[in-house]
Amino acid sequence: MTSVTPAPAGLLASVDLRFTCERPEQVFRHGEDTPLSQAIDEAVTALLGAGELAEAPDRSAIGVLGASHSGERHIFARISRRFREHGIYAIDPVFFSKTNQFFPVFSACKSGNIVGPSSSLFMSATHSAEILYFALLLIGRGHASHMIAVSYEEDADDAAPDDAEGQPLTGRFCAVLVGPHDQARAGAPILSSCRLGPYLSPGEGRDRDLAALFRHLDDGRHLLLASDRDRDAVARLTGARLVHVAPDRSADDAPRILPSLLRLLGPEAEGGPLGSGGSVHVVPPEKGNVITLRCQLP
């Protein structure tokens, strides 16, 4: 087995921003003067400042990871509408280029002149905490010293996608700066390792996979960030060995996993249910990869 000695890391800073693009054309452009690009710029500037990276001349060791569940759905809907109404050559080539990449990542890199490793990962759930795993892997394996992990979701709306014209676009992104733990606030949690998997789906195999995951727990403290359904299933399987933490919920009752995890492990975390440290197991609400973070509080 490969012996990996991960570099201890910390969640140095985070921002949780909503954005609103009022005018239709703002929905589809990422120039320098739209509310979305301004929000991305504000987030990147704040995070680089918090990490004392604002003056760093060399940003090749800083990277950006983007994650989303639905991506830029409104852009695609807009393209689809113009295609149906006006034919194939009505497609704006600028928009076309956004249908096969995740533009917020580029926007963040350009905003901060960040030229380290960057990638765009798509998740099975909104605001998935899995993005932290990938950021920690890059730092742990020496590909980067710091990673900005951005989780981006556009609000679902009841209007048909091709009614995007004239409708404001709203959404949220939650961005975290991950870096060396000695740059974190004194007393903040230190992340020493991360694990990914299994991939869970609703259905009869879910409890089997949860059982396999929690069959052999060490003697440390174990938190379970999961829905009530999974809390009950895991309690049956492990005899209530894990301490359950319910995820925060949005106004429409959707679980907000990543922000909930940041509350436990983020720059302002004070221990709480973690005590002096342990493992946090994050189980996705329906579909997605389980992630496990081992951490300690100094």
Binding site: S60, P93, N100, Q101, C109, P117, R141, D209, K287
Partner: protein
Amino acid sequence: MQDPIVVTGIALNAPFGRTKEDLWSFLARDVRAPKPVDRFPVDGCRVKTAYLHWPAQDTATLYDGTVATARAALQDAGLEPGRRIGFALGSISVADAGEDDTARRDGAVNGLGQHCIGRLGLSGPLVHVMSACTSSAAALFWAKLVLENDDADAMLVGGADRIRAVDFAGFNILRAMDPERSRPFHGRRQGITMGEGACFLVLERLSRATARDTEILAVFAGAGLSCDAHHATAPRCDGLVAAGRQALHSAGLAPSDIGYVNCHGTGTVANDAEESKALRLLFGPHLGSIVAGSTKGFTGHWLGSAGALEAAISIMALRADHAPSMPWLDAGEGILEARQAADPDGPGLRHVMSNSLGFGGNNVSLIFSQPQPETLRRASR
């Protein structure tokens, strides 16, 4: 103790075949002519041809074809679907403009990945990358890290895409397509020819592959990612240089160790010019002793799934100790300063590099190496 990541299976779903042997023999044949596109209206297009493959344009065909290819790769590796086998996919084919959005299932971009992991009965991690033309190369990068972290016993990794009307229109509007067929690195190149298909590789830790006594196709020695942070569609060479240096560093190699570079080489004026500069900066005085070229003149540009296909090609070159040529280049017409054929008195191909660039300034560099007897002996202890 090091336990390298190795490649143990390859399968594809392409106009030229389904196996790695089909792929390699295809690259020894003459370049094909692309076919007229008949799946969506192309009236008024400057370019109306592509290397078509899928029998139908709908997402069901892509989904079924992707699953079949992934399953074939597992079979090539001698593996059955299992709980600790994960799935990493690079694909841009979420849906096409004008298409019913139900193809995206619950609205998730990773619907194709979800579909595959379910149909194949895998429980390992699912990783889905969409980063334009680097998507499946980036999927290989992530799968390697997942295995190195011991979060799976094997990763089924690859790409699958179809030629979408939105991309065909977009590249036409950008005048980035060659009216005849793509001629990467030619002095009078005019752009890409689109292609489509699926290609999957199986990655494992060497110790596990050795214990299973399965054939090891190559060692996945190193990988690097970067962003140009320059322009949404136009590349800048220093991004690829950074990714290449990261890949070399992670593989513990020097530029002079690389024998062949499979370039992104799309055939566009901008890409090939910047990539040529990048090779010059990355390899310096060693460039003249390295064979470099693009195979997109044979296969077409598979967009998000190109990286996986070209990783497979690079591995086959390593195994054959022979780099594919670029027969569309006549003497003196190429812009690359690297060699077009290996020095017959040289050391042979021990390490090869496969590079991918994409919109959004995305860059990925992958390095594959010949499995060395000493490495195999250490792993079998």
